[in-house]
């Protein structure tokens, strides 16, 4: 945690910010992994079932590293270290720090692909930038994960192109998927105090916006789709404010661990 101490005057404040920052990134990956896992046995084709399961497992791997690290950082502050399971399974809705985008329901395949395009394009830029973070844990994770996310982004891109530029039906449903997801886009790029407190360590999401737009808008244009202009926008996921969706997701995700604390197999 020496790098955390370097970022500002009081090591404790920075460690609190770093713990919160890492927790947010970990929760994004964890909640999206859970959502994508819901597709297993329900995808349009068995090949797609496996593809979505693979992507979910990549995200779960990232979540385990990030939550483990966040628990360590919090333990250093409070004196009570938490492990990845404590954080994943024993927190309540208001304690989760993921952006609301990742918790929205899967909808049809087009909604899921719209969400995947938005999120994996963001995560690709994020991890690319984080790979030069002054925090060695974050930079190592990002350098490894960016290769995984490169594939996630490609997977979503391929599907958005095919559905958008496919039949009239697939085009309409892909556009409807984008319309469903777009109100949650702005929140991803919102500035937070946490990021401001971690210069050189955290990445200001606003700086990722133009590279994100370049890719996403190019895909949508090629897919004959239009960038939606939503009438409202989500906010506050990083502060623990969530949509109703997370309240339904958590009991399913946490049930086993809460019913059988410490169970292993």
């Amino acid at each position: 945690m020496t790098t955390a101490a370097r970022a500002g005057a009081t090591p404790d404040v920075d460690r609190i910010a770093l713990a919160a920052y890492v927790l947010g990134l970990g929760d994004d990956a964890l909640i999206l992994a859970q959502r994508l896992g819901e597709w297993i046995t329900r995808a349009p084709q068995i090949e797609e079932d496996i593809a979505l399961g693979n992507i979910a497992l990549d995200l779960l791997g990232q979540a385990r590293t990030l939550l483990g690290y966040a628990g360590e950082l919090e333990g250093a502050i409070t004196g009570q270290p938490l492990d990845e399971d404590d954080l994943a399974f024993l927190r309540d809705e208001r304690e989760f720090r993921n952006v609301q985008l990742v918790e929205i329901e899967n909808g049809d395949f087009a909604v899921t692909m719209a969400r995947q395009l938005v999120f994996s394009s963001y995560q690709y830029e994020l991890y690319s930038a984080l790979s030069t973070s002054a925090d060695p844990m974050l930079s190592a994770l990002a350098a490894k994960a960016v290769k995984e996310v490169d594939y996630h982004r490609d997977h979503a891109t391929q599907w958005v192109l095919r559905l958008g530029d496919g039949t009239p039906e697939s085009h309409d449903r892909m556009q409807a998927g984008l319309d469903r997801v777009w109100p949650y886009v702005e929140e991803i790029f919102d500035a937070t105090d946490t990021v401001a407190a971690l210069p050189g360590i955290a990445v200001d999401p606003a700086l990722l916006r133009s590279a994100w737009s370049d890719h996403v808008e190019q895909v949508l244009a090629e897919a004959t789709l239009t960038v939606p202009t939503p009438k409202w926008r989500s906010r506050g996921g990083r502060a623990g404010y969530h949509s109703e969706n997370l309240g339904h997701l958590l009991p399913e995700m946490q049930n086993l661990h809460r019913s059988h604390p410490g169970a292993t197999w």
């Binding site: 349009p44 084709q45 068995i46 090949e47 797609e48 496996i50 593809a51 693979n54 594939y151 490609d154 997977h155 391929q158 192109l161 095919r162 530029d165 496919g166 039949t167």
Partner: protein
């Protein structure tokens, strides 16, 4: 190369129709010889994007495990076009580090020998031991001959 029935079925379920005559003769493995539903090429637009998913054609997957080896048939899968088939193959067959290179070939593009032709094709080779290079003394130290 042998194509066994497991590999041919792949993850996409059995390809043989009901009542299909399966034969394992002639080293072909259990290959249905008739009634194999080869999906017609899905209607494509100019970019090669296909139509309904019911029309997803079957693709054969070949994977090279490491440099220096040849590509081996590992199975088959459905995909709307070649680019997606390559990605599906990556997800279905290489997620535990099995390969460094993937080939995708439309199943419909494979011309297979027919079990009905096994006599003229393969029998003449059975009784001609002199075709096998077993009548030479291999010099010592030549281990890979």
């Amino acid at each position: 190369m042998s194509i066994d029935s497991t590999a041919t079925s792949g993850p996409a379920g059995p390809v043989g129709g009901t009542g299909t005559d399966l034969t394992a003769a002639g080293g072909h493995g259990a290959v249905p010889v008739s009634g194999v539903p080869i999906p017609p090429p899905a209607p494509s637009d100019s970019k090669g994007h296909s139509g309904s998913r019911k029309g997803w054609p079957l693709w054969e997957v070949f994977i090279r495990a490491r440099r220096g080896l040849s590509h081996q048939h590992v199975g088959s899968l459905h995909a709307p076009d070649a680019a997606m088939a390559l990605r599906n193959a990556r997800d279905v067959y290489t997620r535990r580090g099995e390969g460094v290179s993937i080939w995708i070939i439309p199943s419909a593009a494979i011309t297979a020998s027919s079990p009905d032709e096994k006599d003229p094709f393969f029998d003449p080779a059975m009784d001609k031991a002199y075709r096998h290079p077993t009548f030479y003394d291999v010099p010592e130290g030549v281990s890979h001959l």
